[in-house]
C-alpha cells in the first residue's frame, strides 16, 4: 500500500477511535487520562527500543498494564483520578528515560514517537489500529452501558450492570487506542486527540448520542483535512491535525455563543 494511503487510512481509523472513546473521557472528567496513558506509552516505546522489539507492540502491553493500574487504584482508594494518573504518568516517564539511557545508542527514533510521523505509518501499525477497530465494533453494544455508568455510576450499579468490569475493558481499549495514535499525532499530542473532538461535540450536542456522532465526525474530518494540509504545507501532520481540531473547537464556541445571544 502506498505511504499516503497508509497514512490516510491510519488517520481515519485513529480519528474514529480516539474521538469515540474521548466522549467517555471528557464526560467522566478524565481528560488528564489521555496525557497519562500517552506518557505510559512513552515508557513502553522506550522499553521496546531497549529490547529491540517492535516498540508499538511493547508499548501496547505496557500502556494496558498502566491503564488497568490506574483503574485499579482509583477503585480501591479515595485518591482523585488526577492524582492517580499523575503518579503513573511520572513513573512511566521516568522508566522511559531510564530505558532510553540504558540503550546507550542514538535515540533519534524515540523522538519520532514523541512527535508523530503519520507518513511513516507501516502496515504493521495499521494492523494494530485495525485490531482495536474490530474490538471496538464488537464492543459497540457496550456504548449503552458505558454511557449509563458515565451519567451515574451508582444508578447503573443499582441496575445490576457490571460497571467495574466494563470500566476495566474501557481502560484497555483506550490504552490501545492511545498506542495506535502514536504514529499519527505523537505522544506529546495524543491527549488533545482524545479530548478536543469530544469537547467540541459536547458544545453542540443536546444528547450523548449526538455528542458521540459529532465527536467521531470531528475526529475523522480533522484527521483527513489535517493530513492533506500538512502534506501540502510541508509541516508536521500531528500538530496540523490538532491545530485543525482546535480551530473547530473555537468555531463551535463562537457558534454556541452567537446562537445563545440570538436565542
Amino acid at each position: 500500500m502506498p505511504f499516503m494511503q497508509r497514512a490516510l487510512l491510519g488517520g481515519i481509523l485513529v480519528g474514529i477511535l480516539a474521538s469515540y472513546y474521548g466522549v467517555f473521557i471528557v464526560q467522566r472528567g478524565l481528560s488528564f487520562l489521555g496525557s497519562g496513558l500517552a506518557h505510559a506509552a512513552f515508557g513502553g516505546v522506550a522499553l521496546g527500543l531497549l529490547l529491540g522489539a517492535e516498540p508499538l507492540w511493547v508499548a501496547a502491553i505496557f500502556t494496558i498494564v498502566v491503564a488497568l493500574g490506574i483503574a485499579w487504584v482509583r477503585l480501591r482508594t479515595n485518591l482523585g483520578g488526577d492524582t492517580t494518573i499523575g503518579i503513573f504518568f511520572a513513573v512511566s516517564m521516568a522508566l522511559g528515560i531510564v530505558f532510553l539511557f540504558m540503550r546507550k545508542e542514538y535515540t533519534n527514533d524515540a523522538f519520532a514517537y514523541l512527535f508523530g510521523s503519520i507518513l511513516s505509518v507501516t502496515e504493521r501499525d495499521l494492523w494494530m489500529t485495525a485490531i482495536v477497530c474490530v474490538l471496538s465494533l464488537f464492543s459497540w453494544p457496550l456504548w449503552k452501558r458505558w454511557s449509563y455508568a458515565t451519567f451515574d455510576r451508582e444508578l447503573a450499579q443499582s441496575d445490576r450492570l457490571p460497571v467495574v468490569r466494563d470500566d476495566y475493558y474501557l481502560s484497555i481499549l483506550i490504552a490501545i487506542t492511545v498506542v495506535a495514535a502514536i504514529k499519527v499525532v505523537g505522544i506529546v499530542l495524543i491527549a488533545a486527540f482524545l479530548v478536543i473532538p469530544a469537547a467540541t461535540a459536547r458544545l453542540m450536542s443536546p444528547t450523548f448520542r449526538l455528542m458521540t456522532i459529532l465527536s467521531v465526525l470531528t475526529g475523522v474530518v480533522s484527521a483527513v483535512c489535517g493530513l492533506f494540509l500538512s502534506y501540502y504545507l510541508d509541516v508536521p501532520s500531528g500538530a496540523t491535525i490538532i491545530l485543525l481540531q482546535a480551530a473547530l473547537f473555537v468555531s463551535a464556541m463562537i457558534l454556541k455563543t452567537l446562537f445563545r445571544h440570538k436565542a
Partner: protein, 251 residues
C-alpha cells in the same frame, strides 16, 4: 403472614475497621410506606445501599422478596437517587433518563413502544411536558419528578428513595409525595424512603425506623412518635425545636 418485602436480620456493615451499621433487625411488609430517619452519619444511606445490593453485609442477612438483594430482578425495584449527586451537565433529555429505568441502558435509539411507556410514566408524575427538556434546564423539583418517573416506569413492587426532598421547594415536594402515594396505591407497591426530615416521615410514612449511632433506636408507626422517643434516639433534641413542636402537635 406473607413473606415481608424486606427482611433485615442481624445486619452489620463495616468499612475497614469502622462499623457503620450494627445489629440491625427489621421487617418491612408489602404495600407499606416506611421512612428511615436519622441524623447525618447515622448509617441511613449505607442501609439503603445495602438494600440495593451495592454494599455487601459484613455479618447478617438482607432479603428482598425472599432473595438476596443482588439476585432480585432489577425490574422489581425502583430507585430514586439523591438528585444533588447527579451529573446535570450530562447531555441528555428527560425522556432518555426515564428510558434507562425501562431498559437499564442508556438509549441509543428509542422504539415507539418504549417511548410511549416512558412518556406515560412522565405523565403519571405530571411531567410529560418535560420529556424533551435537557437535564441541565430542569429545576430541582422537575428533576425529582423525572427521577420518580424513571423509577416507576418499570412498574416496580418496591420503590426506594434517597433523601427525595433535598434540593426541591415545598410545592415540588408536595407534588412528588402526592405522585408517589398515587403510584403506591395503584401498584400496591412498598415504599422505603431515607430522609433526615421528620416532618416528611411523620406526614407520609406509615412507619418510622429511626437510626442513630449505627442502630435502630425506634421502630413504630409514625403516629406513635413521641418526644421521649426522640430524646432517647438522639440523646438530646435541644436544637430540634421545630421537631419538638411537631411531635407535640402530633400527640
Amino acid at each position: 403472614m406473607s413473606e415481608p418485602a424486606i427482611r433485615i436480620d442481624h445486619l452489620h456493615v463495616r468499612f475497614d475497621e469502622y462499623y457503620v451499621l450494627q445489629d440491625i433487625h427489621a421487617e418491612i411488609q408489602e404495600e407499606s410506606f416506611v421512612a428511615i430517619v436519622g441524623p447525618n452519619g447515622a448509617g441511613k444511606s449505607t442501609l439503603l445501599r445495602t438494600l440495593l445490593g451495592l454494599v455487601i453485609p459484613t455479618e447478617g442477612n438482607v432479603t428482598i422478596f425472599g432473595k438476596e438483594p443482588r439476585n432480585v430482578p432489577a425490574d422489581r425495584i425502583g430507585y430514586v437517587p439523591q438528585i444533588k449527586t447527579m451529573d446535570r451537565s450530562f447531555p441528555a433529555q428527560s425522556i432518555e433518563l426515564v428510558l434507562t429505568g425501562l431498559n437499564r441502558r442508556w438509549p441509543w435509539t428509542k422504539s415507539k413502544e418504549d417511548y410511549e411507556k416512558a412518556l406515560a410514566a412522565l405523565e403519571k408524575v405530571g411531567a410529560a411536558h418535560l420529556a424533551k427538556r435537557a437535564l441541565s434546564k430542569l429545576s430541582g423539583g422537575e428533576l425529582q419528578r423525572v427521577c420518580l418517573a424513571r423509577s416507576i416506569v418499570r412498574q416496580p413492587r418496591l420503590v426506594m428513595l434517597d433523601e427525595p426532598a433535598t434540593g426541591i421547594d415545598a410545592v415540588g415536594e408536595a407534588d412528588m409525595y402526592r405522585d408517589l402515594e398515587l403510584y403506591r396505591r395503584e401498584a400496591k407497591a412498598t415504599v422505603v424512603m431515607i430522609t433526615h426530615d421528620w416532618h416528611v416521615a411523620m406526614h407520609h410514612a406509615d412507619r418510622v425506623l429511626l437510626i442513630n449511632q449505627k442502630q435502630i433506636s425506634f421502630d413504630a408507626p409514625s403516629v406513635a412518635l413521641s418526644e421521649e422517643n426522640l430524646r432517647r434516639a438522639f440523646g438530646h433534641i435541644g436544637h430540634e425545636h421545630g421537631l419538638l413542636s411537631l411531635v407535640k402537635s402530633n400527640g
